[in-house]
Structure formats: structure tokens, C-alpha cells
Symmetry: C2
Subunit: 150 residues, 2 copies
């Protein structure tokens, strides 16, 4: 967690940048606010290919690809599939984590990408998720985590 | 993930309830919106006991206690400590996950509690976190995840 020494007090948990594209195209966020310990992307993927979000190996592969796309160091990978369907998985990275929960029956996946460190841009995972899950509609927002007082 | 069949279209990702108590007392959320697949609590714990958020076994114990407090079924537990300090951990539950990242040097911990299923109230984990980490200041908000169209 390399950004731990670069701090100042700026925004609060309720200040976020929201990105929404009905066609699912990438909405790149250039805001790398140095005032928080972590950056947390909340990503909603709708109208996905149910096979892509319903196969545990495909989901795990996509999430590890996403971790590599942001140049994160993978520490641990945990994925589970549920009955009758649905997958939960977490990629623990040295810079925090990526998590996913899928509802193939609704063609939906919820993804979180939590990173620390100035060198990492979590938004670089966004096109990987769109492409691999074939999401036709995506929403995402970024939360600042760990906003310390000045 | 037992709530997968109870859906309607209501709020969006940007609609959330925010709870903030400078003294860290519990702000209970009675909103169990049936219009979303998941509930996601974003919790910021400031002014924690650095020993409580710096010891990997204590952090793991607290997070598993939090999972039990919301009556979740624990599927997997993954915790790592980093050099020189800091802990990352995830408790995968049948109803989604709990995650934590701590910065003991700043007496800070970031916690996420993502649940699905109407029978689970994720806010019941809140007092466990406050008590075990001895947080003097906490902020939390709830996001609705997976808001499907009508």
C-alpha cells in the first residue's frame, strides 16, 4: 500500500464522481485525488452475457485480467459458485481488492475495485469488464476512502 | 443469495442513505429496499485503536464476529498483513462479502459489507466494528446494488 504517506484532507465519503454510459463505453476518470488513502470504484454491469457472468472460471479469469490491467500485485484469489447459480469472488491485491458478485439470471454483475497507491489507475479495469462480460449497460462511480483531517 | 427472486425497479446506484455520527454511535438504517439485489454498506472508521486494527488475528476475529452478527453464512476467510503495517481481509459469505483494509498508522480502517437476502440486516455489524476497533468516529452509507428495470 504505497500511497500511505501521501495525505491531505479534502473530500468526504459522500463526495464522488459518477460515470454512467448507457451504451457502456468507457468513461475515464482523470481525478486522482491525493487527499484520500484509497480509491473505490463501484461498478454496475447490466445486460451482460449470462454465460460470461455464470461460469466461475470465466469470471475468475476476467477479474484476474482486470487486476493485471491496473498493474496490481495479486496476493490471493477466492471464487465460489452458488446453487442454482451466481458467483462470488475476490482478488486480494497488495493495493487492496477487487470483488464481484454475479446474478446470471438477471444478466447482472456487481464489481468493486478498491485501490491505494498513486501509481494505480483503477479505471483501467473498466474496459476489461465491459468487454469480457459483454455488458451493454454499465454504471460506475468512484468513492474516496480514508479522507483524513488536515 | 436468497433475495434473487424479489425484485422491482426503484432507486439507482447514486441513491443512498448516509449515516454519520461524530461520536460513532450506531445509526440504524431501517430501509430494506426490496428494489435492489444487494445492499452495500461503505463504512469509514477513524480514530481507531491502532493495536486493534494492526493485529491481523484481531482484525480477522472482528470481521468474522461482524459476519456472525448479521447471521451470514461464512464461506471463506482470507486475511493478509503487509509490511511495514496494514491489513487486508475478506470474509466471503453466502450472501456476498465483508472486506476490510486498515492503516494502523492513521488509526483508520475501511470496511465494506455487501449483502443480499431480505433476512439479513448488514447494519447489525456496525456496533461490532465500533466496539472491537474502538473507533471514536465513524461514517457509513448504504448503496443499493443491482437495481433492475421494472
Amino acid at each position: 500500500m504505497e500511497s500511505r504517506l501521501s495525505l491531505s484532507s479534502r473530500s468526504s465519503i459522500s463526495n464522488y464522481s459518477q460515470h454512467s454510459k448507457r451504451n457502456g463505453s468507457l468513461s475515464q476518470n482523470g481525478d486522482s485525488d491525493p487527499g484520500s488513502l484509497g480509491r473505490h470504484l463501484i461498478i454496475e454491469l447490466y445486460e451482460c452475457d449470462p454465460k460470461a457472468v455464470g461460469d466461475v472460471q470465466r469470471v475468475e479469469n476476467t477479474m484476474t485480467h482486470a487486476a493485471k490491467a491496473i498493474h496490481a500485485k495479486i496476493v490471493d484469489v477466492v471464487f465460489h459458485s452458488f446453487n442454482p447459480q451466481g458467483i462470488s469472488g475476490v482478488v486480494v491485491i497488495a493495493e487492496s481488492h477487487l470483488a464481484i458478485h454475479t446474478w446470471p439470471e438477471y444478466h447482472y454483475a456487481a464489481v468493486d475495485i478498491f485501490t491505494c497507491g498513486r501509481s494505480i489507475d483503477p479505471w483501467k479495469a473498466y474496459p476489461v469488464l465491459k468487454r469480457e462480460f459483454k455488458a451493454k449497460r454499465m454504471k460506475a462511480m468512484e468513492l474516496k476512502r480514508g479522507v483524513l483531517k488536515a
